[in-house]
Symmetry: D2
Subunit: 247 residues, 4 copies
């Protein structure tokens, strides 16, 4: 998977984050927009029935399913760093991928990549032991499974060293500089077609991304994701899962 | 799989039921005795690291691994009936099998059967909706996966109707009649070689079993399991997993 | 506490049912309508911070706080019957009341009644052992704490026998007869002022209630609750917590 | 509460750490040895029935009950640092104290101090925000409740600043220096009677302690605790809860 200027790009978003009585996000709408779905695995969010149904909709829509693995912390929604043993983290990651895979297969699809969630995602930008644990878990599960992460992170560096396919992502709805400026759809187009993004001071920052992350946990976020998709299409960018079309 | 008088029998036991700081049973000892291991899946017991290690020992010992699925109730150890929707139960079962399968594969083995645990096991002796939910889950996961259960149960009847391979079990350390008389090792030998068991009133009761369940959650239980194994061997019974030797 | 025609009535509703990242209901709106708040206790819903904040708003609004105790089942939102030992249920109930009481006091108020939630509420309409367990728990905690429940239930009968103050409730937004007819605000007024309610066949059914339960888990439910409140006020009914005004 | 050479000392130990099917430690034996019992509160260990029974035994034995509050992490037994918001931590602490208090009162006693557990205990030796959160929680619950902690910790410093009574503890069964040398019963006597402890290099280190922590989670630990108790008594030290005898 290469970065830089491209004519095709992947759009990914978190889904399957409802839990029992609690609904979160409009998964149906999001799955009509993105090409890759980061489906929760029950540790930070997502009961089994939610996961299966989300995978069913993804299968029908032709959206690729990925396992969004996280810390075992429902109350914190996986957003609190947990200083756990690498071995335990690795085993928790394998457990989560396998659990989602079983539901994905029952739904007529399968898990095609792994993306860490929340505090785990952030921790392994720098945390070497936990980064290696996640890499070891994916390798132990299926060494052909790509991993999604932040460009420049320890996680992606360790994954490459271990021979995993890495997918670099940029965020469509977060500013890349201090100051709460949200990145516009136009900037996403430029990111994809030029491989650069306009920083808040007007300069062009080089960003290599194979996938754009959009959010869908509020009506505003869904609308923003739809705008990004439309702007990319109008600019002639082909929206496609990073691994190519589904078989 | 047939019942009645046989010259080979399977011995199964629950393992992998430790959780975090809490140890339960002597899994190493048990895995040196049985031919099939009902490994917990994290819902009633078993953290991911416990499950992986248990599968590793089973793999080394040549013991077949089965998924012991249960209600999502750690505090109750899966021993309290939960009146849940069949759809949710089915999805919880698929989730559990997949989670254990992933850890089993990482440990060099795989899940080769499914056995419900505790209150779920007891409920689906009679509870049709939950029995069908478990059957539907196994079929959705892998229709070639055998299920272990109580002879005469709604669960095994539904499993047969659905085309699943069924394995009938008898209990080595529980009396078959009122009065707390424990079944002796000798009675287990007769059960296996004659297909009958002596009831407390002295009469012979026909019991068809493909597998004997022994317990290992106390030193006394482990000793009892070892005695059953020895008595069977001395009687010329071949101890072998119900599906035959591992590939 | 007496039933029959009255000129004052209590309005109660479930609140505090958000959990971590997941919001449920518009507690601020509901606490502007009702006189008694059934605050979750963390077992079926409600993290500690949600509970404290809900109690703070209740305290500011002058709304009485009750402990809504339930089964320990987040995934099922307390809506699945759990066949647990009465002793364990009683201890779980004491645990929940105490936990909420601590947060209520930190918020400047206190727990003034107990109302079972969901499947527990429904179970103890008939289930004698669990009904007695809840009664025993409330007595052990504070024998002066009233309990809210269904008129005619085993729970209220056992509570009375044990010397607890009982509060009978009617449901403002559920039909009292087959056929999904929702009870109108006008029928609630008649229920309160006449002690009868019009069944769907037009006949008058006698209902003795000390409190009306309204729901607030959707915008429609909040609007309905507001309508009931207005209709009662226009009919000259005084809205007041069943135990009288707060000290 | 003062440190230095004393003729009375408190012995504290963790109890109530069983959970459902899983037993941990010999609480009955431990409660026959110590003067203060750090009872778990359900977040890192301890179901409600375990907590109530533990409090009942403590009440019978005249042992003072304290609330051992921890992170909400059963799988990690509260031994993994969780980077949570101070507000959420404070509310979790209040929740736990209240829950245990209710069960303690049902058991005929009450919560008389608070001791953080495991990773939380260790974190607030240095972590200012979490230390202040625990202090704020105890103050909000009951400003008269003493807190147990490590001498020199940020936690005790913050507690003092907030006007809480602080109790400093030393560990009877952990070495005070690198090298796995365990502290002997004799050294504990010297610690109590001289206010110093012999380091592994032979030098005398000043340690001010109001309470000695002993462990009881293995037969060896219980025997060690009993030896410490005996050695202290033989040296003429009076074993007494730090707050004096129970009323």
């Amino acid at each position: 998977v290469n970065g830089g200027p491209v004519t095709t790009i992947d759009l990914n978003s978190d889904v399957g984050e409802s839990f029992g009585r609690w609904q979160l996000g409009d998964d149906e709408a999001v799955l009509g927009i993105v090409t890759s779905a980061n489906v929760a695995c029950g540790f930070h969010a997502g009961d089994a029935t939610t996961l299966r149904r989300t995978c069913e909709v993804a299968a029908v829509q032709g959206v690729v399913v990925g396992a969004q693995v996280g810390y075992n912390d429902l109350a914190g929604f996986g957003r609190r760093f947990v200083d756990m043993e690498p071995t335990e983290l690795a085993d928790d990651v394998i457990y989560q991928i396998g659990a989602l895979e079983a539901l994905a297969r029952a739904a007529g699809t399968r898990v095609r990549y792994v993306k860490p969630h929340g505090a785990l995602y952030n921790a392994i930008v720098h945390h070497e032991e936990q980064a290696r644990a996640v890499v070891a878990a994916v390798r132990a599960y299926d060494a052909d499974l790509p991993v999604l992460g932040l460009p420049g992170s320890v996680f992606l560096a360790e994954a490459e060293r271990a021979g995993l396919t890495t997918v670099r992502e940029a965020f469509a709805d977060r500013a890349y500089t201090p100051g709460a400026t949200r990145v516009s759809a136009e900037r996403m187009v430029r990111l994809v077609t030029d491989g650069t993004i306009e920083a808040v001071d007007g300069s062009a920052v080089r960003v290599e991304a194979d996938s754009l992350c959009v959010h869908g946990d509020s009506p505003g976020a869904v609308a923003m994701a739809a705008r990004v998709r439309e702007a990319l299409r109008e600019a002639g960018v082909d929206l496609q899962a990073f691994g190519g079309p589904l078989p």
